[in-house]
C-alpha cells in the first residue's frame, strides 16, 4: 500500500486536512513554504502520533538538523542539497535523500545513496527542494531500485497520482504544489489527493482513525481489532440514524428523567461573592450521576449489533450501577469488574449492582483500582469478543470509544447551552467540570468548543497534593504514553510503567486522561487545574449547606475550583458548574472524614 506525504505545510487547517496522510513535511530550507522550528512544533500538535513528521533541509549542518529533529520533534529527515554521505550516516532518524532527475545517469546516482529512502523529483527552478515540474516516471523503468526505498515526487496532483503509482509502485508519493491553489495549500485538494491514493487503490486497505491532534488511535491487541472496527462501523451508522436518536432520547426522557435543570445557585452566588453561579444537575439523573447517559446509548448500540452480553469496569461504582441498571432494563447479561480497593470504599454501590442482577468481579491485581479494572475488562472482552460489548464508562480507550462516549454525554452541554440562553440570553463566561477519565467534562465542554468566548476549565484530583506521590493530576503532572488503547497523557515512571493514581474520590482515581482532553490541554482551549482531597471535602460541606445539594466527591472538585475562580470574576459574569453526581454513594466516606462536623 503506497503511503502519502503532504509536504510544505504551514497552516493548522491544512495539517488537519492531511490527517489521513502517512506523513507530513515541514520545509526548513529557504522557500516560500519555509517554517521555523517553533511554527512546526505548534503544527505538530495536530499530527497523529503515528504519522511521520518529515523535515526538509538543503545543505544544513548536522547540529541544525539535530536541533530541529528534537525541537519539533521530527521522525524523519529529508535532504535536498549536496549532503555528503557522512552527514547521511550521522543522522539518527531515518533519512530520505532527494535527487532531481533529468537523465538515466541521474537515476544511477539514486542507487549509490546511503539514505534509508530515496526521493525522485523533477529538477528545481528558483529554490531547491522540489519544483512541481512533472517528473518523467518512465526514467525509472528498468532501473534496479528497491521500490520499498522509493519515494516519488515531482508534479504529482490528484489527477495523475494514480498513474504514477501504477508505473513506479513506490513506498510513498510526495506532493506539495499539486495540492495548492494560488501558491497556498488547498484543503479540498489535499483531501482529494489522499483519497486518490487510498480509496482508489486496487487493494482494499485498513488505516488508522480516531485521533484528536496527536492523541487517540487504536492501540489494542489484534484480537480486539475486529470488534473495535465493527463498533466503529456500527457507531458511524447509528450516528446518522434519526430512529436511533429518537430511541436514545426517549429513554433519556422517560427513564433517566431528562432534561435536568440548570439551577441558579442563589446562596452560593452570594457566598462566593462573584459571578452568577448555575449548576447543571446531573445529580438528578436516575442512578445518581451522568454515567447513565452513556450507558443507555452504548447498550442500545450493542443490541443493534446483536450483542446481549455486556462487560464494564467501574471505579466509584457509578458507571457500574448505571450499566447494571440499563442491563436490567434491557435484559442484558452483565459483568462488572471493580478493583478490590474500590469495592471496600463503595460497598453500597457493589450491593446495588448485585441487586440489579449484575455479576461483580473483584480485581486484586496491581493497585486494585479503576486502572486494573479496565485491564481485566479488556482481557474479558478479548476472550469473549464475539458476543460481548465492552461498555466503557469514560471518554477513554481505543477509537471509537472516546468519540462515542463524548457524543452520548454531549446532551449535558447541549441542554446547558439551550438553558443558559433561555435564562440569561447569552453564553456563560466560564464552565467548570471535574475530570477523571473525563466523560462529564467532555460532554459539558464539547458543545462550547467553538464558542471561544466561553472559558472552559477541567478540574483534576490533586489527592494529597500534586507534589506528593498521591494524586491523580494527569494533565498537570503526566506525560505522553499509551494505555488502554489510546495515546494520551499518563502518570508513569521513567521506565514507562504506569503509576498508581490517588484520590479520595474513586471516580477520579485514574492515571490517564481521555485523548481529546489531552489535545484540548495541548492547544490551550481548555485549562486544567487541580483540587486536593481536603479542598474537595470542604466544598462538599459548603455546597450541602448553601444549596441543600450534597454533591458526589468527584463533582466537589469542580465546586472547590469554582469557589476560587469566582473570586476573580465579577457580578455581571456567569459561571456554570457541572454537578456530575450526587453524594449518596460517598456517605460512608463523608461520615468518616467529616466526623465531628457540627
Amino acid at each position: 500500500m503506497t503511503k502519502v506525504k503532504i509536504c510544505g505545510l504551514k497552516e493548522q487547517q491544512h495539517v488537519q486536512a492531511a490527517s489521513r496522510a502517512d506523513a507530513v513535511g515541514f520545509v526548513f530550507a529557504p522557500s516560500k513554504r519555509q517554517v521555523t522550528i517553533e511554527q512546526a512544533a505548534e503544527l505538530a500538535k495536530y499530527v497523529p502520533i503515528d504519522t511521520d513528521k518529515i523535515g526538509v533541509f538543503v545543505n544544513a549542518s548536522l547540529k541544525e538538523i539535530e536541533d530541529t529533529v528534537a525541537g519539533v520533534p521530527l521522525t524523519m529527515v529529508q535532504l535536498h542539497g549536496d549532503e555528503p554521505d557522512e552527514l547521511v550516516k550521522a543522522i539518527k532518524v531515518p533519512v530520505i535523500q532527494a535527487f532531481s532527475i533529468r537523465t538515466k545517469e541521474d537515476v544511477a546516482k539514486l542507487k549509490r545513496s546511503l539514505a534509508d529512502y530515496v526521493l525522485v523529483d523533477a529538477p528545481g527552478t528558483d529554490y531547491r527542494g522540489g519544483s512541481g515540474n512533472v517528473f518523467d516516471w518512465s526514467l525509472l523503468e528498468g532501473v534496479d531500485i528497491d521500490p520499498a526505498r522509493l519515494i516519488v515526487a515531482g508534479g504529482l496532483n490528484p489527477g495523475n497520482v494514480h498513474a504514477a503509482i501504477e508505473q513506479t509502485t513506490p513506498y510513498m508519493v510526495d506532493v506539495s504544489s499539486g495540492v495548492e491553489t494560488d501558491n497556498r495549500k488547498d484543503t479540498v485538494k489535499i483531501q482529494e489527493f489522499i483519497k486518490q491514493v487510498k480509496d482508489d487503490s486496487v487493494e482494499q486497505t485498513i488505516e488508522k482513525v480516531g485521533f484528536f491532534g496527536k492523541y487517540g488511535g487504536q492501540f489494542v491487541p489484534e484480537t480486539l481489532m475486529k470488534a473495535v472496527k465493527e463498533l466503529e462501523d456500527a457507531y458511524n451508522e447509528v450516528k446518522e440514524d434519526p430512529e436511533f436518536h429518537k430511541e436514545y432520547h426517549h429513554y433519556l426522557s422517560e427513564y433517566v428523567g431528562r432534561e435536568q435543570p440548570l439551577t441558579f445557585a442563589k446562596r452560593m452566588t452570594e457566598a462566593y461573592g462573584g459571578p452568577k453561579i448555575y449548576l447543571k444537575r446531573e445529580d438528578l439523573n436516575h442512578t445518581g450521576a451522568h454515567k447513565v447517559n452513556n450507558a443507555i446509548g452504548q447498550a442500545l448500540l450493542a443490541m443493534r449489533m446483536g450483542k446481549r452480553k455486556i462487560v464494564a469496569e467501574t471505579g466509584a461504582g457509578q458507571h457500574g450501577v448505571a450499566t447494571a441498571t440499563i442491563c436490567a432494563l434491557f435484559d442484558l447479561d452483565c459483568v462488572i469488574f471493580m478493583g478490590e480497593e474500590d469495592i471496600k470504599r463503595q460497598q453500597l454501590n457493589v450491593f446495588r449492582m448485585k441487586l440489579l442482577g449484575a455479576r461483580v468481579e473483584s480485581v486484586t491485581k496491581g493497585s486494585a483500582t479503576l486502572k486494573d479494572a479496565v485491564n481485566e475488562a479488556l482481557r474479558y472482552w478479548v476472550a469473549n469478543v464475539e458476543d460481548t460489548h465492552y461498555l466503557i464508562g469514560s471518554a477513554l480507550g481505543p477509537h471509537p470509544f472516546p468519540t462515542m462516549v463524548r457524543d452520548f454525554q454531549s446532551v449535558i452541554g447541549e441542554e446547558t447551552k439551550r438553558q443558559i440562553l433561555e435564562k440569561e440570553g447569552r453564553l456563560p463566561d466560564t464552565i467548570l467540570a471535574c475530570v477523571g477519565g473525563g466523560s462529564n467534562a467532555i460532554g459539558m465542554f464539547y458543545p462550547f468548543i467553538q464558542d471561544k468566548e466561553v472559558e472552559l476549565i477541567g478540574v483534576e484530583a490533586a489527592g494529597q497534593g500534586v507534589d506528593t506521590d498521591k494524586h491523580a493530576a494527569t494533565l498537570t503532572k503526566g506525560t505522553d504514553g499509551v494505555l488502554h488503547g489510546a495515546f494520551m497523557k499518563l502518570l508513569q515512571d521513567d521506565a514507562g510503567q504506569v503509576q498508581e493514581a490517588h484520590s479520595i474520590s474513586a471516580g477520579l482515581d485514574y492515571p490517564g486522561i481521555g485523548p481529546e482532553h489531552a489535545h484540548l490541554a495541548d492547544t490551550g482551549r481548555v485549562e486544567y487545574r487541580s483540587i486536593t482531597d481536603d479542598e474537595a471535602l470542604a466544598a462538599v460541606i459548603s455546597m450541602s449547606r448553601l444549596e441543600g445539594i450534597i454533591p458526589a466527591l468527584e463533582s466537589a472538585h469542580a465546586i472547590a475550583e469554582a469557589q476560587k475562580q469566582a473570586k476573580q470574576m465579577t457580578a455581571d459574569q456567569i459561571l456554570v458548574i457541572c454537578v456530575s453526581g450526587r453524594g449518596d454513594k460517598d456517605m460512608a466516606t463523608y461520615a468518616e472524614k467529616l466526623e465531628g462536623l457540627s
Binding site: 500500500m1 486497505t205 489494542v220 491487541p221 484480537t223 469478543v385 504514553g481 521506565a495 510503567q497
Partner: protein
C-alpha cells in the same frame, strides 16, 4: 543477514521460547537463554515486564510483576543483552508493550536493539494501523517487526498484514489472552492453513501452546510454535527440564 531469515531457510519446524526478563532476577536471564539454546530451541522471545499487560494471562502477568518488583526496566534488559559475550546462534526477539518503548524513545530503542543483536520485535498493542510509529526505525537496523494475526482478523486485514509481513507471522491460536490451555479449537487448524497459504514468511502458532497434543494437531499446518506461559511456569517452579519433551516434539520428528 538477519538471523530470522537464516531460520527460515533451514526448513525445520521452529520452537520459539518466551522468557520474562528479570523473573527471578535479571542476572538469571543469561543462564535461561543459554539453557534454552542448549535445549535446542530455534529462537527466544525476551519479554519486557509492563504494569498493564492486557494481552497476557495470569502466568505471564505474575512473572512480569515479579520482575517489576526487582526493578527490571527495558533499559536494564537491553544493557544486559549488550553485555553478553557468549555465543548466541539463534535469533533473539524482544516482546514488549508499546508504552515502555515510547518512553525509552523509539529511535533509541531500535538502535539499542540493533547493538544488542536483536533480530525481531513483537509489540502486541501496536496493530498494523499504527506500525509506522516504529517500523522505519527498526528497518534502519534491519530488525523485523513481527505482526500478529488472530482468529478474529478479517480477510481484508489478513491480506494487508500478510502482504507486508516480515520475519515470521505470529498466529494466535485462541480468542483470549496468553496462558496454557487443555484444548485448542478445531477451527484453529483451518485458520492456520488459510494463513500459511497466503503468507510470504513462516507462520508460527502461539498463545496457549503447552502440550505435545497441541503440537501434533497443528504440526502440518504451521512452520513453528511459540511457547510462553509453560516455560515461564517451568522456570519459576525450577522444573525447566520438564519442558524438554515439548521442545523435542516440535524440533525432531
Amino acid at each position: 543477514m538477519n538471523r530470522l531469515e537464516q531460520l527460515k531457510s533451514s526448513g525445520n519446524k521452529a520452537f520459539v521460547a518466551y522468557v520474562m526478563a528479570g523473573d527471578g532476577g535479571l542476572e538469571r536471564l543469561r543462564e535461561q537463554v543459554q539453557y534454552l539454546q542448549g535445549a535446542g530451541v530455534t529462537a527466544i522471545e525476551i519479554g519486557i515486564p509492563f504494569s498493564d499487560p492486557v494481552a497476557d494471562g495470569p502466568t505471564i502477568e505474575a512473572a512480569g510483576n515479579r520482575a517489576l518488583k526487582q526493578g527490571v526496566t527495558l533499559q536494564k534488559v537491553l544493557e544486559e543483552l549488550k553485555s553478553w559475550t557468549f555465543d548466541i546462534k539463534i535469533p533473539l526477539l524482544v516482546m514488549t508493550y508499546l508504552n515502555p518503548v515510547l518512553k525509552f524513545g523509539v529511535e533509541r530503542f531500535a538502535t539499542e536493539c540493533g547493538k544488542a543483536g536483536i533480530s525481531g520485535v513483537i509489540i502486541p498493542d501496536l496493530p498494523y494501523e499504527h506500525k509506522q510509529l516504529v517500523q522505519p526505525y527498526l528497518d534502519k537496523e534491519n530488525i523485523k517487526l513481527i505482526q500478529l494475526v488472530t482468529l478474529t482478523t478479517t480477510d481484508v486485514r489478513l491480506d494487508d498484514i500478510l502482504r507486508e509481513a516480515e520475519g515470521f507471522v505470529y498466529a494466535v491460536t485462541i480468542k483470549g489472552i496468553t496462558g496454557s490451555r487443555d484444548e485448542l479449537s478445531q477451527d484453529v487448524k483451518t485458520f492456520m492453513q488459510k494463513i500459511r497459504k497466503k503468507s510470504p514468511v513462516p507462520v508460527y502458532a502461539g498463545f496457549g501452546i503447552s502440550k505435545s497434543s497441541h503440537v501434533d494437531m497443528l504440526r502440518d499446518d504451521v512452520d513453528g510454535f511459540i511457547v510462553g506461559s509453560a516455560i515461564v511456569e517451568a522456570f519459576n517452579a525450577g522444573k525447566i527440564e520438564e519442558i524438554e519433551p515439548l521442545i523435542r516434539a516440535v524440533t525432531t520428528a
